[in-house]
Symmetry: C2
Subunit: 343 residues, 2 copies
């Protein structure tokens, strides 16, 4: 197995991507803090180049693997890694071919093309993804394949999110007690965990998945990687990978506090909350950490919690569903006579 | 006339509001930078508590005027100052009464109420606003009136936006060449200008107004305050004050580089761009600086420009119009064969 990255790899990744990636802030949320009784901060990776954290790992991998000297890059992704790799390749000046499911959100496909990638669509239910990838890889001889999460450079790149959180916590004299990280294959979780526990070993980091795609939750419980039964069917299109990546698993199993799952309805309500209360555009898969905070109500009284909003590439119809879900919930809550905090 | 605030008042305001306001970031925009050929940063005050910069001035004024010892506060506003004052009063634990036009965006009215304010609506066309205010003020004897811009504490509070921009520029070793600031009565512009020119006297600061409400542009040209003919009718509901405030005018006339105006269509397209490319929720009045950057195309090649996105309290229908406007423009641009930068 490829050895997992170490902390120094994340520091190096941060240097590699500094000129191209957006240094995202750690945003204090008065609204969430008052609602939940703790100090709640949001790390909005929806503000990252290409609209998700995926650009970090992709850019680091493209640079680490040769940058402009590469013959080309190939990737497979439902959309956020696709955009990240396509944009990283464009910046490096090398061609990219991206394999995407035909049911990927349209803006994700369009934006991948806008970065200059050749997009190959496949049917998630009827076609064998690996066969499609093999065919593309054969046609693109000499191009390197960049896995969305089971790649040490990708994990190190995603880890720069954690490095920034750690730096901002140190500057604000905060000790993060609870950190909620959206999880698909576990690459973001692994990178963030590696970076953050170096400085804040007491931080309890939870991976958050959609219900039905809770392979990490079941894997941690079983002590070994488990698979999801379904291949599709969640509104969290970014979080449907079938099983934990091996490299990230080696990091996460040792270091995360646990994994939890939220329903599609909870993820949608979190999308609406992000829009209405935080003025941030989040996609359902990017908002599952926020959904976990609101739906599972971990005890954060007097504590510092950080929610990672990992992406914001969303269809109009899904945003509309999210706004309806959140506003219905907010009205019901107001009607029940509970005191609503403002912000 | 009340003397205008000085730089030290802004530093003091920053201390007063530090525990309650959001310290917003200076966000690098790869998308805008590549499109326009400079280094473009966005200061997203839509991420501020209550969704606009107005909370800063309101909180500073409430604290400076007595805080918890106040009998109450009264304000008049189309919505953003309303929310700012209502929320500042709630935090200080004092009652607030806010006079708002009946055609104010519904979310602005609802959120003002959510902060616990009593809202008094009036008809912008048929009723005399000053008479309504006088009546409310008489009923609320002992409450202090907080003007939306012609108040030194309010201007000092808004100036904290500029203080943060200056600190971030210094940390990033940037010299801001061009700064675009949305403008209604001129309070934000005055505060930002005062704070920013202290450290960066060469920065060219432009106020940006909606067409038809370009009182500042005409006032600067005439050398004396001018009035707008219309009272209503712009999609930029936050930017329809009739004439420059006297205190801000004394600062701005000496220090800003100029004022420009954008059309409603340009402001709407900027709302769509903010959503699609920056994943930020901006309202039309908050996006006029961005609209000026995209529509007037100032020469920023090799230079550093900062766009202030001043607010994000928007109706769903207006957002939909903004998305349509921006996407139609982007498609036309792609169809014309111009190379589209990504990001």
């Amino acid at each position: 197995m490829t050895p997992p990255p170490i902390f120094a790899d994340i520091v190096k990744a941060a240097e590699r991507i500094a000129d191209e990636a957006v240094r995202t802030p750690l945003l204090f949320s008065p609204f969430l803090s008052e609602r939940l009784g703790g100090r709640i901060f949001v790390k909005p990776e929806c503000l990252q180049r290409t609209g998700s954290f995926k650009f970090r790992g992709a850019m680091n991998a493209v640079q680490a693997l040769g940058g402009a000297s590469l013959k080309g890059v190939v990737a497979v992704s439902s959309g956020n890694h696709a955009q990240g790799v396509a944009e990283a390749a464009r910046i490096a000046g090398v061609p990219s071919v991206i394999v995407m499911p035909a049911d990927a959100p349209r803006p994700k496909v369009e934006r991948t093309r806008r970065s200059g990638a050749r997009v190959v669509l496949y049917d998630r239910q009827r076609e064998d993804r690996d066969a499609v990838i093999a065919k593309v890889a054969a046609a693109e001889a000499g191009a390197v394949f960049i896995h969305p999460f089971d790649n040490p450079h990708v994990i190190a790149g995603q880890g720069t999110v954690g490095l920034e959180i750690a730096a901002d916590c140190a500057a604000l004299e905060l000790h993060p007690d609870l950190v909620l990280v959206p999880c698909s294959g576990g690459g973001l979780g692994a990178g963030v965990t590696l970076a953050l526990t170096e400085r804040f070993p007491q931080a309890a980091i939870y991976l958050v998945e959609p219900e039905g795609f809770d392979d990490y939750r079941r894997s941690l419980a079983a002590g070994a990687p488990q698979k999801n039964a379904a291949r599709a069917g969640s509104v969290c299109d970014a979080l449907m990978s079938p099983t934990p990546g091996a490299i990230g698993w080696a990091i996460n199993r040792e270091r995360v506090a646990g994994a939890v799952a939220v329903s599609d309805a909870e993820a949608l309500a979190a999308v609406g909350l992000a829009f209405d209360e935080l003025r941030l555009v989040a996609e359902p898969g990017g908002a599952v950490g926020l959904a976990a905070l609101m739906a599972l109500r971990p005890d954060v009284a007097g504590r510092t919690a950080i929610v990672l909003l990992s992406g914001g590439n969303i269809d109009d119809a899904v945003l509309a569903a999210g706004l309806s879900a959140y506003r219905a919930e907010a009205s019901a809550s107001a009607a029940s006579g509970r005191i609503a905090a403002s912000g």
